[in-house]
Amino acid sequence: MKLFQKSPWIIHYDGASCNGCDIEVLACLTPRYDVERFGIINTGNPKHADILLITGYINEQSQPVVRTIYEQMPEPKVVVAIGICATSGGIFRECYNTKGGVDSTIPVDVYVPGCAARPESIIDGVVQALAILERKKKEMAARP
């Protein structure tokens, strides 16, 4: 059975942004979108999570935090960059403090564009991440 597709637990972190995408991520938990239908839980604890949702760009201050969260998550894990800032830096790209998108710091598996990304596309991004999660689990099992 594909258990990882049935029980993806999420942690959400905002690198640095306008908070628009954060509000959309939280909207996914509300009765209108209700992601718990798919067994998705917003854990708030990297050690319990399978999927790291990052909104916003990465700067000097958030870089070590993002790296720590990523390293604390047990394998298999995937990273979903939510919104155009997380994808490429967005309108903050040319700022003096911007490192760039999330992939400047940790490997990203799925990019969800949008400003702000809509809840539908966030859920779609997570669903695509589930297939990658399942593949990573197989690779993990194949490793000696």
Binding site: W9, F38, G39, G44, K47, D50, P74
Partner: protein, 291 residues
């Protein structure tokens, strides 16, 4: 109860308790979701979660912590087995408490302050709930003249009639034991940040699954405790347990967490009034009305 029956009952508990408690958790999550105008996860979601956790990578913050977790699981199962083979109620309560203490030690073994706060709060929860559990064993003894679960459940009369205060007190501390709001100090079933996840913060993957499994064994054991009050009438017992569990879900969804001082104070006051009050009245009645 002879040896064969005892072994069968023990095996049945070890196999069936997680299945029952997992289904109960699934129903719990669906009802909670409906109370929040959501559809909620599938019924089998708790099992999906559990099996997924077993497949995750094993990360050890401190290996000693994992050893203590096994103690938590083992002693919770021992308490449950002792109960369901009709053994001594006091051993059940002490084994259960020992299991919880192992859990606390496991959380203290990690260095994280969140884990430590959770462990301290778990100790506070133990302080709040243990007096009522021990008092209820005394209540059963005064009512039936025995600490043996077997003697208590084979009585022909309905114990809820003479021990209503004990029942109410046990339902009150059940909220603490089931980790429901407003008493979910140490950790919560709901997705939350570190301080609320408390005692489970540093455990991940298979170790988190062990905690969940031990909690399921504990849930069935505690519901078994409440069953004793209705033992001669099983259908009434099932109805009462369903009603109690529904009340717990309702409380969970309509309350915020309390300060730990409130949890401790309110549960001790409730234990003193309902539990000890019931015991005093019972003792008075058993003397034929002469103090």
């Amino acid at each position: 109860m002879n040896l064969t029956h005892a072994i069968l009952a023990a095996l049945l508990y070890i196999v069936a308790a997680p299945v029952l408690a997992g289904l109960l958790a699934g129903v719990d999550r669906i009802i909670s979701a409906r109370m929040q105008a959501r559809i909620g996860p599938p019924l089998l979601q708790p099992f999906y979660d559990l099996f997924k956790l077993f497949q995750k990578e094993r990360i050890a913050v401190n290996k000693t912590g994992h050893f203590f977790l096994l103690g938590y699981l083992l002693f919770t199962i021992i308490a449950g087995v002792e109960f369901f083979i009709g053994g001594d109620l006091l051993i059940v309560i002490f084994a259960l408490a020992l299991g919880s203490v192992f859990f606390v030690l496991g959380a203290f073994a990690a260095g994280s302050p969140y884990s430590h706060i959770g462990a301290e709060r778990e100790l506070i929860q133990l302080m709040a709930s243990e007096p009522m559990l021990i008092l209820s064993a005394m209540g059963f003894y005064v009512a039936t003249g025995s600490f043996q679960v077997h003697d208590i459940w084979s009585r022909p009369d309905l114990l809820i009639v003479i021990l209503p205060g004990m029942f109410a007190g046990l339902v009150y501390v059940l909220t603490i034991k089931l980790r429901k709001s407003p008493f979910d100090l140490a950790t919560s079933h709901h997705a939350h940040q570190e301080i609320v996840k408390g005692i489970t913060t540093e455990f991940s993957g298979p170790y988190l699954a062990v905690i969940e499994l031990a909690h399921w064994y504990e849930t069935i054991l505690l519901l078994g405790f409440l069953y004793l009050f209705f033992a001669p009438w099983p259908w009434l017992a099932v109805l009462a347990l369903a009603a109690v569990y529904f009340l717990e879900i309702l409380a969970d969804n309509t309350n915020a967490r309390l300060y730990w001082q409130w949890v401790l104070r309110s549960s001790w006051i409730f234990t003193a009034v309902a539990g000890a009050g019931n015991l005093v009245v019972l003792y008075y009645l058993s003397r034929g009305g002469t103090p």
